[in-house]
Amino acid sequence: MKENPYQPYVATIEDTWYETVGDRAVKTFKVTLDDPEARKNWSHRPGQCAMVGRLGIGESMFCISCSPTEGDFLRFSVMRAGKNTQGLHEQEVGDKITVRGPYGNSFPLEDWKGKHILTIGGGIGQAPLRPIVEYVKANLDQYAGLTMIYGARTSGDLCFRNEFEEMMKRDDISCHLTIDIEEEGWPYKVGFVPSVLMEVNPSPENTIAITCGPPIMIRFVLENLKKLNFADEQIYTTLENRMKCGFGKCGRCNAGNLYVCKDGPVFSYSTLKNVPEAFA
């Protein structure tokens, strides 16, 4: 991190594409830091976030949606929702953005070695789960297995669809895609993510479940994981709150006594169940 933590790095967009279209389109950016020294010193872990923005418009916090195992670049998947994200969506290959970070804690993937990893994502909530998937995929021999459940409202709202379809072809990974409402020609599951979770019926034995998605989905996923006999310590999620600094100064991202930017964004359910504001 820089000596002046407020001052970002300049990064160039190497590649960009739309994951979804529409009012709340999701666009993915693959970027590299311009300064070779910064690029060398940058290291992030799955689950960490970064402030991404444009000079003159502003900056917002996004999860880094790639794993360091993928290479010397950063990826952000940005839903168009406000001023900054609109500004980012206008950027194309070769354009400059600002990046500072990485911020926050990360998924304890080292501690999870030897365990089965289950990710349960909804909509843009798959973005913070993607680095886990990529990391475990790259080190699959060190984990007991990888199961993914991912859903969105419609097939057009699914992010990373090509990557999922590639993974579905593999027999060493278990992958379940679902959409909320039936569509003509849709070859995979239909139903809400929490219901598909029950259908997949994963064993809690030696398994870690990580979920991220809309609050309502998380609520029912948590309920269902409890029904499936997952212990609180086996369940993880990542929180998001409005942030400005990213490193514990600006005040606003707290959930109870926890700063999402510094104490999180990754929390186990055994911690969060005691934090009154965690799911507010």
Partner: protein
């Protein structure tokens, strides 16, 4: 170093000797007061009560440029180093508040803007003689002559000020002042002690904070929050003018071909403070926002930094347009615990 004394008629000499441009002193303009440069004046109004705008504004200005850039360019230029400051006439509660905010801004990663100014500042406190009606510093480990955060404590002895240097920075100032200061007598120190004691006895409002930090979050669903936030207008005065409140927003601004990214005081009492881009707001009403303000000061900050983020200066009570009273809230909390 020995205690020293500054005769009141020599205040001008003291300022001149040390260099007027270095001083920041309490000044009143347009009905409110704050610390500001001397502006060529050769005296200081030490009769002003605690400033409306707390001392924090010198270290953490309301609006502050983080860096500048030219539109279309990517080079960013941060402002230069902070000026050296001698701040004179600081009330002990405001100095203690700085030591609280220090903990946050020194938390990894350190805040170079705030800490740069802190390093270069010497703080000369002035013991309070006439505490205000809503002062409750003595309930929070402070007092009218508390020395926490001060480099020198000054006490008004009528014809002169007793100077009690407390740190190396304070001693340096006394040395620089040379013969403008004279050595004090034992009787001066005794007189000052009496001033301090008399002032402390004038503080009437109190809160026993015992047990609050640990148990406050248990009152999450209590009626207290609805009841005490009902009159709140959400103006944010209680937080802007709180010496320990430190929350800020970061924004970009372009003027002509020049742009800057700056930070600006923000308040947890505003709806936008926590509003997500999606429209979701984890603290949608003043009930949740009031609950967060009190919990942050009296519980969360204690968890993180080991100290209550309140010094009992009374500003949030004095300046609230609808008489929301933190001591009233805290006494309801105490009852409910």
């Amino acid at each position: 170093m020995d205690n020293m004394k500054l005769a009141k008629e020599k205040v001008g000499d003291f300022l001149a000797k040390l260099g007027k441009e270095r001083f920041r002193v309490p000044q009143e303009t347009g009905g409110s007061s704050r610390f500001a440069p001397l502006n060529g004046e050769s005296s200081v109004d030490f009769t002003l009560s605690n400033t409306t705008v707390p001392l924090k504004s010198l270290f953490y200005p309301q609006t502050e440029t983080l860096y500048r850039y030219e539109v279309g360019e990517t080079a960013m230029k941060a402002p230069g180093e902070a000026d050296e400051m001698i701040i004179m006439g600081v009330r002990p509660c405001d100095a203690k508040a700085l030591t609280i905010v220090d903990r946050l801004f020194s938390w990894d990663p350190k805040d170079p803007y705030y800490l740069g100014r802190r390093e270069k500042a010497t703080i000369i406190g002035l013991a309070c003689q006439e505490p205000r009606v809503n002062c409750f510093c003595t309930s929070l480990g402070g007092g009218p002559a508390s020395t926490e955060g001060l480099d020198i404590l000054m006490t008004d002895l009528g014809e002169s000020f007793l100077f009690q240097p407390l740190t190396e920075k304070g001693e340096k100032i006394c040395q620089e002042a040379g013969d403008v200061l004279v050595k004090s007598e034992d009787s001066d120190v005794q007189a000052a002690e009496k001033v301090h004691k008399d002032a402390a006895s004038k503080i009437v409002r109190k809160i026993d904070s015992e047990g609050i930090p640990e148990k406050l979050p248990q009152l999450w669903d209590s009626q207290i929050w609805k009841k005490t936030s009902e009159p709140c207008l959400g103006c944010g005065a209680c937080t802007f003018l709180c010496p320990t409140c430190h929350c800020f927003d970061i924004q970009d601004e372009i003027e002509g071909l020049e742009g800057r990214r700056y930070r600006v005081w923000d308040s947890c009492m505003f709806k936008e403070y926590t509003l997500h881009t999606s429209g979701h707001n984890p603290r949608p009403t003043r009930r949740e926002r009031t609950r967060n303000r009190i919990n942050h000061k009296y519980s969360y900050f204690v968890d993180k930094f080991g100290v209550i983020a309140c010094v009992g200066c009374g500003r949030c009570i004095n300046l609230c347009p609808v008489n929301v009273d933190i001591l009233n809230i805290l006494s309801q909390v105490k009852e409910a615990l």
